[in-house]
Assembly symmetry: C2
Homo-oligomer: 131 residues x 2
């Protein structure tokens, strides 16, 4: 059993296409997880993730704050306590349209369509957890 | 994309071996998830989950409250913002030792050791999501 407070994990810039967004890998391959991974994102007021798509799903829980999720050609408000499921291959973007910090958990599978995405599942070249 | 507030999901008694614990299935097979599932547990003051073990992992995030996690022969305090990874086959129990409600997310894989646990992955006969 492993326990830590999320605040003890160093936040890193969330990378290309994001603005004012950090990511903390809370549970990943190094933790011992094999099937899925937990990340915590913080989006400052005015910040956003890229409008993008990929062939794996997201399971999201909004811990704090409020904003807008863009998906395909539509938008929808989100707020604390909201649960969001983004299936594979759907365009999506998170925007902090409020005045407070947005904190959200975003979980991803280790595999897409039965095949490994990368060593950690994020699919990004510069992922710290893939090292 | 599916979005809902956790409070719109009916809480159900968490079943055998629990005391003062409810479960809400936030993301499951019916949502369209194939790889892992998100549940929200609420544990009232003095409540607890059973001391048990099974051959799949838990990925937990403590949203509110504080308590004690029992694992194997030891105990450890938990509080809001804590992240807990319980590997397969480790004994564990959550106890609300505080005065406030504990809210936590607990995610589980759809499969254990490459084989389906049940239709929803919880492994319990009376699971509402398996119907």
């Amino acid at each position: 059993m492993k326990i830590l407070n999320y605040s003890s994990v160093e936040p890193k810039d969330a990378g290309e296409g994001t603005s004012k967004v950090t990511i903390r890998w809370l549970i990943d391959k190094k933790t011992g997880a094999k099937n899925f991974f937990m990340r915590l994102f913080e989006i400052e007021a005015g910040g956003y993730t890229p409008l993008h798509q990929h062939d794996w799903e997201h399971e999201v829980f909004i811990i704090e704050g409020e904003g807008v999720i863009v998906y395909e050609e539509e938008t929808k408000l989100f707020r604390a306590g909201d649960v969001i499921f983004i299936p594979p291959n759907e365009k999506h973007q998170f925007r902090n349209s409020g005045k407070k910090l947005v904190k959200l958990l975003c979980l991803i599978p280790n595999k897409k369509n039965g095949e490994a995405v990368t060593s950690c599942g994020c699919g990004q070249k510069d992922c710290q957890s893939c090292k």
